[in-house]
Subunit: 767 residues, 2 copies
């Protein structure tokens, strides 16, 4: 953990340049628009440690699997998020000396990520070796309005000299993924051209035939006047550049603009890419930097309108939650149903893949409550689109029917390769079923069930049907050899959470079948036919539901995380010498496995998901038993605990858990932010506020709120989009105020008092 | 499985050349002498598929670990057996055309591994493109008398032409390991020289500073007369060669001799290597090929005197068992206590490392019964020498005391990297303790206990002491999170075998302490002081012995392989569709894990080791329960089952299991012999005959025999070295004859009738 960023309500700010922080800042100050994104690399040459990264959503590479010992069933490749053409590059040479903040003396350095308006800005003074001083201001963004457009403005003011600026504006596609398994490059050249002030590089991936064309135009202005310069063109393989010589006059600014249009054959015909790219670029250039930036600010204002959370009296907390919301909105906009929410968004390339169960378990609620419901729906459709691959995956592992969704995927195929996770962390299938329930429960959009949902539910149910193991001696069904959400316990029998979510899936699938049968018998029959679903199969599901085995500790009356959990020595984390923490950096894997320590919510994950099934006493007994043994070494852990702690009235615990998630990356809590931000866990932070402190739940088409405010805060407020309405919920130490910002009325329950909140109405409850 | 070798009692013979069999033959026809060895590569150029391999015992490389996902505690490297300088190389060019059996027309090809006399021979006729025919006979061996010496004789006879032979005799040290994790070369050049007919290449490893010098002399004879030729020297990095032009006359043979002296700085000072190598070479050259070969035959006759097994009436079985004995004797001679028995001997480089628990569990009995007892003792001393590393290994995994021997090692450090094995297959520690018991029980050499044994036993006991887990609720000790000998069950709790061998180690350690206390109180006190062994510690061991938990199935009255074994669906292998076998090539890992199918003896391994603790009924119940679920997918599995089947009188099962091991590599049973032979399992084959069909056991300083002969055999006989005597045990369908070939008398029990067999005496028992 290292705190060096300035606290501010709307911006992330770094003052003074320290190369040791640079890679962390490159992650934190990343910009993205759902279609593309990049780390906060410098435009000019930087020879210090840096992870240069530009990423195009959905463009990936199947990197050959690397394992120590092959196990049957491992995937052939690991899909890597592809580092691609660097379009921001500007070499800045002044009278022969190159600007390089690792070498050059720098002062008054300020880097700012303006989250309100969605841009990255950097200002500094540099002193060259011969004493020449200059001021630089660099601003850039990727547009959330014109998704394929990026723009940057680089302003140089010589402070004490006249001279010559030689600037090389370049496009560099000769890029490597830092995490390539065998140190290979993934891109092949297709075409490069330079004409007037434009240049273009088209690449294709060595496998899968992704084509990516980046075209940029460079413009140079002096004191507001565009210079009619002819650059010197230089081409190389996968590289294009234009070199300009510009006279510098003391006190007068030279401004370089660079506009980029980045298009891929995911969206256009391959042979049209260069044409499309030029057309997109024409539009961007015609708008100009200032107009693009204004549109950007407006676009972000709209995002904040739906999703902002305000915390008063705690700037660090305010900054933390806004940073999380900002990054989520930069990563996934929901407009492209082929996309999903990668674990690092556009902020790094570690882990690869783009889709984990994080999406369903943690991210979906954020998008449900802060955006148009079609965005959440697209997240579900994404999995429906992968259903055939999930069926193939089940076949590959030897199942005769059903679907097993992958642990990590890019295109629906599994790409993780640790047997205890890839093959055994099958509870992920349950989360995908649960997300359907969650979506329908939240939106009331039951049409999804008949359109797509039932097919996914039935195939997942079939997987569970085959995966359970009937034990005649006990007349029960068991699920053997799994890894639950707590990955610190592997290949265990009867993980309570997995057994419960499996059985729940069967229950919900049957419920949905009944609903379809009643509501639309034609549609129902269509699915019965298509799925070839027999009564015997549904009866078998019912038998499994009836006879599913759940390990329980009779003495403590808690659900057991797995059959043998009580064989372990039960010790609270508090009694561990601090030197052992984090366990995953200090203990060997076997020691972790045979210990009682829990990485993230497991039984409690079930109590969170299926909260309505359990009374407070049950939740309390289990929370009191498990939380003390939980080390929260997954970034996804504290949020669930924070929410349950709120429910149980454990105020201090709730606030403690909230703090563990809110500033995870800003304060580099796990000392790994240089690899990129923990994007999916950011949705968990949002959940902690809205579902935890706000106590929000949906039941029977009614929005329940049960807010409490941590003593540390003056007030907090959040917005919730629900059934066409947008509510602003404000909580301070005296009262709760709920304002319906729209004209749609909402069925509400606050502290279990049911009411209807009309359009534009406000309700106030004293605390 | 593919059978193409000719059955013969004393030789392995391949007739006719088929490139598709070549890599398998390269493994099978390998030669070695404990100090060095090589695959049966051709001397001349061969451009077809081939795994070129020359190996020096104890010379290895720490190849950087390759894993998919790093786990804390993984070793930094995997020790690779090092492929090293190829000294046999001879380019054969006749009038401009190179001899290459992949290109050249070849007939009358015969390859023979003469196991009786220990050499490899190959004869063939070749017809060149222009119709020239020649006959070649190539013979070579690595001497078991002069360990650093290799010699080859390559005789060419032109059958229908006169011409010129241009032969390049070379030393090539620019060698790669085929299984290098990152495709690196492991050798750096040190020095190369060529003088007269000698050349020398010295290399060193890029890490660890192993130096290896190979010096060779080439001699060329024509019809028995040495030709005084001056070769043309050619040097390159890590390479030296001499090119000779020799006139060929129809019908007259040219014979090329190549003598090699291969020395390493494991045995000599680094700066002396070239000198030593030349001196060794002088001696070899002065003896000449024929004398070296005669000495080789004599040396092998001595080996066979102690270790031969004769099977009459079944040539395939005879050849199989001799092949196994031959390979064992080629791999490990016991003269160098720093060495051990690598899983592939000198026949390939797969798996790496040199020492697995195979050594203690399977190989030790062979060397105990067929060689001087110092050889078996050296295998024990090897582990004692690694004790400090084993203690470090335990510390690395978080244990405060005790020693955990590695799963795979070269120098005492762990180099395996699968958590379920590296960290969890800890039963290996028990086998190392058991080997001490086994050695003392067999030899009666109790001095080993006071000299080395007790230290190893105490440190292993301490490991178990810390590794067990006391469960207050049940007042028992458990061992959680292990992998037993059956690697098809991972991270299980209370593997019966592991629990039993752990407790047994404690029992035996206490027994040895008691023995030392009574027999030599000074020595005893020395160890108590050195080990800082307190009474409390020993009392703790006693408590663990008393309260160790053993999972049992009350209903069937069998020991349970692990706590949750009965959750599994219990199906006999016989009911599996054959298409599923072998499981490890057809099932994903999770499917294997949650199935009941067993890779190799687990509970039964315990019943084999601690046979004296269990009555026949117990053994029978467990055998009857487990064997039907065992797929024997470890080459180490069938032998234990064969031995127990013999004990239970299951004749057919015993013979079936024997057949599975005896010709494993000769018939390429697992379709992987091209990677090298399954060397350690060969000792298991020997055990099947001697301990299985021979029923040999040692108890109370008495040799027990309980032979039975499979109906398929006329007779079989084996030799056993026991307490200074050598017995020849002959069994035919009518009688058992035991001949004491030495003058030392032996306490014997045949079919439970105790007797004393005097020196040179014979006893005959009718069947």
């Amino acid at each position: 953990m290292k705190k060096y960023l300035i606290e501010h309500e709307w911006s992330i700010i770094e003052e003074g340049f320290d190369p040791n922080n640079h890679e962390v800042s490159e992650s934190v100050f990343s910009i993205g628009n759902g279609h593309m994104g990049q780390r906060a690399n410098f435009e000019e040459t930087y020879t210090g440690a840096s992870l240069q990264g530009s990423y195009m959503a959905g463009v990936y590479y199947p990197d050959k699997t690397r394992v120590g010992w092959w196990k049957n069933g491992y995937p052939e490749y690991f899909a890597k998020v592809l580092n691609s053409t660097n379009w921001i590059g500007l070499k800045i040479v002044i009278d022969g000396e190159e600007l390089d903040l690792y070498q050059t003396k720098v002062s008054e350095f300020v880097r700012e990520l303006n989250m309100k308006e969605g841009y990255l800005q950097r200002t500094f003074k540099a002193e060259l070796q011969d004493g020449k001083q200059l001021k630089v201001q660099a601003t850039r963004f990727v547009s959330i309005v014109d998704k394929e457009v990026g723009a940057l403005k680089y302003e140089i003011t010589p402070l004490n000299f006249n001279g010559t600026l030689t600037t090389t504006s370049y496009l560099d596609g000769d890029i490597k993924n830092e995490d390539a398994n065998y140190d290979e490059k993934f891109w092949d050249p297709v075409n490069t051209w330079i004409k007037d002030n434009r240049m273009s590089v088209t690449l294709k991936t060595k496998k899968l035939d992704f084509h990516f064309c980046s075209t940029v135009e460079t413009q140079i202005f002096s004191n507001g006047t565009k210079l009619e310069l002819t650059g010197t063109a230089k081409e190389a393989i996968k590289y294009a550049s234009l070199v300009y010589d510009v006279p510098l006059t003391e006190g007068e600014s030279i401004t370089i603009y660079k506009y980029a249009a980045n298009v891929t054959n995911r969206d256009y015909d391959t042979d049209q890419l260069e044409t499309v790219s030029s057309t997109v670029l024409d539009l961007a250039v015609s708008k100009g930097f200032d107009q693009l930036k204004q549109e950007q600010a407006k676009g972000w204002a709209n995002k904040w309108l739906d999703s902002d959370i305000v915390i008063e009296g705690d700037v660090a907390a305010q900054q933390g939650i806004r940073f999380n919301i900002f990054q989520l909105n930069q990563t996934y906009t929901g407009e492209d149903e082929r996309l999903n929410i990668g674990p690092k968004g556009f902020t790094g390339e570690k882990y690869g893949g783009s889709t984990y169960w994080d999406t369903e378990a943690y991210c979906l609620p954020f998008y449900l409550a802060t955006a148009d419901q079609k965005i959440a729906r697209n997240l579900l459709v994404y999995r429906h689109n992968h259903l055939e691959k999930a069926k193939e995956n089940a076949r590959k592992l030897g199942f005769e029917k059903g679907a097993l969704y992958p642990m990590v995927t890019m295109n629906g195929e599994e790409c993780h390769n640790e047997w205890e996770i890839t093959f055994e962390e099958i509870h992920r299938n349950g989360a995908i079923a649960y997300a359907i329930y969650n979506y329908v429960n939240y939106t009331g959009d039951k049409s999804y069930l008949g359109e797509y949902g039932i097919e996914v539910l039935a195939e997942i149910s079939r997987f569970w049907e085959e995966r359970v193991n009937y034990v005649p001696a006990k007349d029960v069904y068991m699920i053997l050899g799994v890894t639950g959400p707590n990955e610190y316990d592997n290949n265990i029998d009867n993980n309570w959470y997995t057994n419960r979510i499996a059985s729940w899936t069967l229950e919900y699938t049957i419920e949905v079948l009944d609903y379809l049968k009643k509501s639309d018998s034609v549609l129902y029959q269509k699915w019965i036919d298509k799925l070839e679903l027999k009564d015997e199969e549904v009866n078998q599901w019912k038998d499994i539901i009836k006879k599913m085995y759940y390990p329980i500790d009779d003495e403590r009356n808690v659900f057991l995380q797995q059959d043998n959990f009580l064989n372990k020595e039960l010790i609270p984390v508090a009694e561990l010498d601090k030197k052992h923490l984090p366990l995953n950096q200090n203990w060997s894997w076997d020691r972790i496995l045979r210990s009682c320590f829990i990485k993230q919510a497991d039984v409690l994950q079930g109590l969170y998901f299926l909260n309505h099934e359990f009374d407070l006493d049950t939740i309390k007994r289990n929370f009191d038993f498990y939380e003390p043994m939980t080390v929260h070494e997954s970034s996804l852990s504290p949020c669930v605990h924070s929410i349950l702690a709120c429910q149980l009235g454990y105020k201090d615990k709730a606030y403690e858990m909230y703090l563990r998630t809110a500033r995870l990356d800003l304060d580099n809590y796990n000392n790994d932010t240089e690899d990129g931000c923990h994007t999916t866990s950011m949705a968990g932070t949002w959940m902690s506020v809205v579902q935890g402190f706000g106590g929000m739940k949906i039941k029977d088409n009614r929005l329940y709120l049960n807010p409490f405010i941590p003593g540390e805060w003056q007030s907090f407020s959040f917005k919730v989009v629900f059934r066409g309405a947008r509510l602003l919920v404000q909580v301070d130490q005296e009262k709760v105020t709920i304002i319906n910002e729209t004209t749609t009325s909402v069925d509400l329950s606050v502290y279990n008092n049911q009411t209807q909140l009309d359009g534009k109405a406000t309700v106030e409850i004293a605390l």
